[in-house]
Symmetry: C2
Subunit: 134 residues, 2 copies
């Protein structure tokens, strides 16, 4: 157990990790969280457990490859549970874990922000594209 300097201890209270640093493992986590499908799957699951097919229906246009891949990663990262019910055919339900519920507001915020500010972004793009390219 290493001793800590006063300067280190001051910072250590709040942040053990810093995504601004290149070697920080949060970089990798950040790149996983900043994923279009994650931003849709997490909000889709907040109403309660959903089946694979239900999710595919709610998240229109998602390929089953990406849906499965996204769910697997979320499961591994402890954000989603996968429950198999033995029946014919088999039934699989996905649900948010407590950790997943903690992430939910953040993911919803991105999705909502996009929906709420789409028009403003459109206007900005029109303005940008209109200016003579110097």
């Amino acid at each position: 157990m290493p001793t800590t300097t006063a300067a280190q201890g001051r910072e250590q209270d709040k942040r053990e990790y810093d995504a601004f640093l290149a070697g920080c493992p949060t970089r990798e986590l950040l790149s996983r969280l900043t994923d279009k499908w994650v931003a849709l799957v997490i909000p889709a699951l907040v109403d309660g457990p959903q089946r694979h097919s239900e999710l595919a229906h709610r998240i229109a246009g998602v390929s089953q490859k990406m849906l499965t891949q996204t769910l697997r990663t979320l499961e591994r990262d402890g954000l989603v549970t996968r429950t198999v019910t033995a029946s014919v055919p088999v039934r699989v339900d996905y649900a948010l874990t407590p950790l997943g519920h903690e992430l939910f507001p953040v993911m919803l915020a991105i999705k909502s922000w996009a929906e709420a500010h789409m028009d403003q972004v459109f206007e900005a793009r029109a303005r940008f594209d209109a200016q003579p390219q110097a």
Copy 2:
């Protein structure tokens, strides 16, 4: 101007767009916002205008290609301004627009979430990887 049914009018108050729909333009915006570099650039700019080289320093490990590309997209979408000061050598400052400031808390939330929950994710991964692969 089309008339609206009661059911439509009720929904229309809050959402004109829905990222769950495949054709919705917010899908494209969402995929831009869910970007690792955006999640780092926006928080980095909140302290005030920053130069290209300053940003590159704060966001350790970012290539200048990705930094420039990210800044260009953010500028086009109206989230960031680019100010050129004619001097030798030329000085370029980037700053958040009001719209960018609105996005800031959302981006900070993701970055902070990753930093705050890194350990829990690590534990979840260890548990997941430890279980016999059925």
